[in-house]
Symmetry: C2
Subunit: 171 residues, 2 copies
Amino acid sequence: MKRIVFTLVAVIAVAGIAALTARASGRADGEATPGIKLPPGYRDWRLISVAHEAGSLNDLRAVLGNDAAIEAYRKEKLPFPDGTIIARLAWSYVPSEENNKAFGREQSFVAGAPTNVQLMVKDSKKYAATGGWGFAQFKDGKPADEAALKGCFSCHEPAKANDFVFTHYAH
Amino acid sequence: MKRIVFTLVAVIAVAGIAALTARASGRADGEATPGIKLPPGYRDWRLISVAHEAGSLNDLRAVLGNDAAIEAYRKEKLPFPDGTIIARLAWSYVPSEENNKAFGREQSFVAGAPTNVQLMVKDSKKYAATGGWGFAQFKDGKPADEAALKGCFSCHEPAKANDFVFTHYAH
């Protein structure tokens, strides 16, 4: 119960801050590039799942969620509530010589240098035009420009049945 | 400061419980198979890093740490203090058709069914014979038998300079 109350308070706080920020910057609701900030402490969030994107991305990634995200995933509750933030961290996919020696074969790939961090922020009113989600990307803590975010929602549209989220919870 | 106190309390509590458990089960100090239990709430621990083991393991893995582990990693402080627990979760490495469709090419691999969970538990006295680390493995929450743990320490010995831990923190 305490946890639910805490989560509710957190969700309300996030929503409140988001609303204030939107007002202060004079941005219109449903704007494609929402000016989302990297939330402090996101590196401490709990793990949703992991993945490897091969090809030109060639990264290892961890998907973390704030409390609202984790609660929704664990309760298998869709759509995600307002206040949900999902953070995708990625690092270059590099072979580990040290691990390969221990295993006695070439098989181990680990996280190298960080590539970028992507966020999905749920606010069903503010981001109504993009399925209720705001999208953001950061490299070395700096936000990507608007052009880089144009493709986010259209790419996520095939996952509509899962509230536009591709990542499933790793049990 | 509050966090340090909390961590200290947690470390002391874990050490105390471990000592009591050892006494209750009548096991000798330094025993190779320590009878370590899966700590409640380990799935909520913070992320240390991610990896992909190809070859016969063919898994995606996340390495999580309790508060003592994360503090030590972030302060780059070796050896890890007593009370440190590092948990390696792994899932089968499976292609994601859904993601590949969105990307328009075959490149996406995600976490499938869980394979097993491995733990390293630091207690420099209890596990003195194995570099201060107790090793454990769980499948579907059930501990592996002693035979499965015989190779743990010898495999970790090459990482002696890093206090027998292979995984580096993903920044």
